[in-house]
Symmetry: C2
Subunit: 423 residues, 2 copies
């Protein structure tokens, strides 16, 4: 617990709540001008940002932060330009706020529709990736939401300077001050305070690893969008075009193994296993992939140097590396049962030329995105046409899959009458 | 806590979860046949139902249950026929499950859309109104969701027999057994168990008074749709057509004062107060309404016998009776500020012939439904064209306003490819 009467998190959240009321009705052109101001300020203050990021990287390295995390923390002139470019891309997207959907005229002449409105205040808790600061702030602003940011401690100074630049640009562009707030304290208790501030914060989005997501889900008193954990399957059906299957599997596993939509387990129907398993094991081996195979698949893979026996618990693993599990199944039913047991509801794919199998898989595989004859690596806001995303939700409430601008809004019913009463 | 190893609530919820997996992919015609079977069984077993409801009513009366609650508990042949009719009306509605929305073709040829899917398992906790048992069960079944029902204790036996009839009809019609389960124990601890069963229950809907809603919101570990508490305003603008305003106010207040979309506070712009306040006070008085007026309105109402001084806390009251608060405001800004402070986000109306005022009110009044020149009493699933509803949500997450069939579903992204990979 903090020793102040009110925690920094609650104090800032209260200010964001206040600002969010005015932000909610700010027209798109003014929000876009503020986003352009953020992009321009990031470019103009590149040297300031680098002067803070450089020493922070050194401290992190001295503290033993691992190489891949250091890389995610590092800012360069090119990366800052790229962040600014992303902000301008968000500005270019259509504004969902105020759009009226499905306006209908009822028999009594009432016009009834649903108008998109912002959720209000988003709380974002993320790990030590400074770029996420600007990423989330720009998407929240565009969708009319205030945002309270909490950065991981290793990149706290870099995130803080980016947040300060954004907050100043927002205010100078005439948007409500405090629409973007950043928690300065690195005290972990502030996260707890944030997660109890249900009166100020409408939705919390944790961006990070499984431990962060679990803590947020368990402690938050407001709705949480969880996701980012993908135990993803690609199932090669008896009727699969195996020439199509190979690039889909290779892409899903190797294009970017560290992301949540990468393939973790390859399921192969027994009818095509003798032909496909030795081939795909070799092809994946050429890309550096270790295949954790069940007994039947292992026998088919023969002496492949990259094939090792699978452990039962591997089926529940999100590998995030050049590894995958491989299992032979006797039927589509078995594949669906395996996915139901071991999947995390993220991304599931079938490769099949059977209309019936494809239809069943689409209906029955329960995940944020289900693919027929395509790579799970496509589960992404930009790829689905949303333009941007704050993450991929694996929950079913409110929004599922990539969360873009519209997914950060709610709606209200609008009813246009000319004196109607209900009798 | 219960003394058994596993509570009844969790045991039944587990069975519903299992059944819900098959129910999710059950086609509409089979769900509709099951709904027809429920309706027919209710009609055929009317005598059985009445034989249980009659003595239960007597026990409740002996226990001191008040008249309006007794009336809500009472079943008659006509009411049972009406419940059966409502079930058939749900069967007649289009099935949202499996519908694919906004299917688009991406530049790479991928077809990407969103398929409606059930949420899974709904937990319903309601007070002593047996008809709610069938109401919620039929809407959940039609939307492909399993449902665990928990009834208030006064009407427990009546709700139990209705649930048993529904469950048997569902099973005999070939739908998964245990798609509808009813908690037999009246132990209050079972509610706590239910609210902790986040692995089995996807969404909890409390239907009842403020105490129930608060308990559910505070204790539930899964998402909750709260609503049903409406502190609703009707604002008479400076540019209002006062002849139109009168029936709108009278309808919103008097047509059904006990419901959540009834008007609680009338706000009148000072420019029309001298003309409108004395008139509407008299008209409301003729309908038996006590007007709790602020000082300025009270002075204008003069000697009206139904005008009494408003207390500050009245502005936060949901009257649920033939009472309303009345306040004169100096501007639209003041009206919006009053609504922001005292409204519960349920239903807000403006009466105005000013385009600018109507537009501002639509944008800025923050509620599940916002009305221009119409009665707030229209905030209802049937009136909005949803056909049915399980309640009116005043939260912003997932669904807002009347919750019909579509609002009890989620979606998954479906992606149809022909071998695409992402580079």
């Amino acid at each position: 617990m903090t020793t102040t009467a009110q925690s920094e998190a609650v104090e800032r959240a209260t200010r964001v709540r206040e600002a969010s009321r005015r932000l909610a009705t700010t027209p798109a052109d003014r929000k876009n001008a503020a986003l352009e101001a953020i992009a321009a300020a990031l470019e103009a203050q590149t040297d300031t940002i680098l002067a803070i990021n450089g020493p922070e990287l050194e401290r992190a390295e001295a503290n033993g932060v691992a190489g891949s995390f250091l890389d995610r923390m590092a800012l360069t002139p090119e990366r800052i330009a790229s962040i600014a470019g992303d902000v301008r891309a968000v500005a270019d997207l259509p504004d969902p706020v105020g759009q009226i959907e499905e306006l209908q005229t009822r028999p009594n002449g009432l016009q009834v529709g649903r108008m998109r409105v912002p959720l209000g205040v988003i709380g974002a808790i993320y790990e030590s990736r400074p770029n996420v600061t600007i990423d989330i702030a720009s998407i929240c602003l565009k969708s009319g939401n205030g945002v309270l940011l909490r950065s991981g401690s290793d990149a706290h100074a870099s995130s803080a300077v980016l947040a300060a630049i954004a907050a100043r640009a927002v205010e100078e562009a005439g948007l409500p001050a405090h629409a973007v707030e950043f928690i300065q304290s690195t005290d972990r208790a502030e996260v707890g305070e944030m997660l109890r501030a249900a009166d100020q914060i409408d939705l919390v989005i944790p961006r990070g690893g499984a431990d962060l997501i679990r803590r947020v889900r368990d402690e938050a008193t407001m709705p949480v969008i969880t996701g980012g954990i993908g135990v993803c399957h690609t199932y090669i059906d008896a009727d699969a075009d195996l020439e199509m299957a190979e690039p889909i599997v290779v892409n899903a596993k190797t294009q970017r193994p560290s992301v949540c939509n990468a393939m973790d387990t390859l399921l192969v129907h027994r009818d095509v296993a003798a032909e496909f398993v030795p081939h795909i094991t070799r092809v994946l081996g050429e890309r550096g992939v270790t295949v954790h195979a069940d007994a039947r698949a292992g026998a088919l893979a023969g002496e492949a140097p990259n094939a090792v026996p699978v452990e039962d618990e591997d089926y529940d693993r999100e590998w995030l590396s050049l590894d995958c599990s491989l299992r032979i199944v006797d039927s589509l039913d078995d594949a669906l049962a395996h996915i139901e047991t071991h999947g995390s509801g993220h991304s599931e794919a079938i490769v099949s030329d059977s209309y019936a199998s494809a239809q069943r898989f689409l209906r029955e595989a329960d995940a944020s995105a289900v693919f027929v004859n395509a790579s799970t690596y496509f589960n992404d806001g930009a790829q689905f046409g949303l333009g941007c995303e704050v993450g991929i939700s694996t929950g079913k409430m409110h929004a599922r899959g990539p969360m873009g601008l519209r997914e950060l809004t709610s709606y209200k019913w609008v009813v246009l009458g000319r004196g109607q009463i209900r009798t």
